[in-house]
């Protein structure tokens, strides 16, 4: 399949969370099912970009609807994200010039093929994930670290509150290894908020829901709060 060369702006703005030729039938079917759920507005497909600045802007738009001043053209001329936030206490931080969303740093089908859907009322994020051959652990099986990465990121989306959050704790129980190329469904749910701490539970299942691959819980914090704790020492 020949693709014309995309301009650099098109590459930066390309949304990866849409079907491509490497997607298996299982992944496409699930994608269609979830797109149907989006029709009444309860669920929303989350776009996914390679460029960190673009991803941040989109995440912000998706989760913090009232915020107006952050638009793409402003973003390309200012690499700092956090100083724009109304109650940010952070000093101005520049993003690395080559920063990339690493789960999007692969050619089609070789690494992380995924799409996330979010339900803001129920505080749930579902990630449909197909791991490719560059995510290997034992031969033919997904690396535990790649699974941990997707669990961490999906849990982060479930906890999204419109400001940048980081993980304070992550606990994963692996029940079965995941075969490379297979599709799994990562269900994450924000189940508790205590002060500024956000608690997310997560499970990873096969497409038919019958096989449980992993269960996880994590605690997320707003980045500004995390910095306060770090400075206080722990």
């Amino acid at each position: 399949m020949n693709e014309r060369l995309l301009s650099s702006e098109e590459v930066i703005l390309k949304d990866y969370s849409v079907p491509n030729p490497s997607w298996s039938k299982d992944l496409r079917l699930l994608y269609d099912q979830y797109m149907k759920k989006c029709e009444d507005g309860s669920w929303k497909r989350l776009p996914s970009y390679r460029d960190v600045a673009v991803q941040e802007t989109e995440d912000f738009k998706n989760f913090f609807h009232g915020y107006r001043c952050l638009d793409l053209s402003w973003h390309f001329s200012h690499t700092c994200f956090s100083c724009a936030h109304p109650d940010s206490k952070l000093i101005k931080e520049e993003q690395m010039p080559q920063a990339r969303v690493f789960i999007r740093s692969y050619e089609d089908g070789l690494g992380f093929e995924f799409v996330m859907f979010h339900n803001d009322v129920e505080k749930k994020t579902v990630c449909l994930f197909q791991g490719g051959p560059y995510l290997q652990g034992l031969s033919g099986w997904l690396h535990g670290g790649a699974m941990a990465t997707m669990i961490d990121i999906t849990s982060g989306m479930a906890a999204s509150i419109g400001e940048r959050i980081v993980t304070a704790n992550l606990n994963i129980d692996f029940k079965r290894p995941v075969p490379l190329y297979s599709v799994v469904v990562i269900n994450s749910q924000l189940y508790k908020a205590e002060g500024r701490k956000l608690f997310v539970s997560c499970d990873v299942r096969s497409v038919d829901g019958k096989t449980l691959y992993a269960e996880a819980t994590s605690e997320k914090l707003p980045l500004s709060f995390f910095w306060l704790i770090c400075k206080a020492g722990s």
Partner: protein, 247 residues
Amino acid sequence: MIRKGFQVAARLGYHRVLPGTPRILPRLNTAAAFGSSTESLVSRFCQEKTNLKDYALPNASWCPDMLSLYQEFVEKTKADGWIKLPSFKSNRDHIQGLKLPSGLAVSSDKSDWRIFTRCIQVEGQGYEYVIFFHPSKKNSVCLFQPGPYLEGPPGFAHGGSLAAMMDETFSKTAYLAGEGLLTLSLNIRFKNLIPVGSLAVLNVDVEKIEDQKLYMSCITLSRDQQTVYAKSSGVFLQLQLEEESSQ
């Protein structure tokens, strides 16, 4: 009678998946099953005479901290019993002549598989790391420098990338210390963020080996040990690899 069958199977080093069992593989009589010494595991793993590219060697992207600590550990490999682990493109390259047990063996033989932590091939952009292992202390030290592709909060490594580095270090330690093969659990408490391009040092200890499981702890520190980046623990399942039959 079934239990006796398992013991016999374990002695033969042969594992079979039983239909209907919730576990992937049956429990084994640990005393009989794991006979490979750490020394033999290490020598097979390290494969000194090989044309395979070793990714765990200094390159132009390594920061001064990483280079200097690397040199310190290289000195320790000469006198103090430390071993630098090679890092090949695929885990299969580390276990030539061996294969996964029947429950885990995959039939297709794709050569384009890559281990997750060596997939970003541009130097300095992803995971730059090297692991040193001490066979008798059953202790590992991983020098990890996250690149810009691993960024989470601006200028800092994503928590998921450190989780992956921990899993990988636990995995190599578990295998060499006692044939640990599959991650059962990971528990990570993040304390501080690692600046992209700087060195984080993961210190892994094997706490105990019990009931077919290896229990390990890890503390991740800055070079000067003044900043704790994370504390974590991992549990791995012991499973014996099988000899590849000559064909």
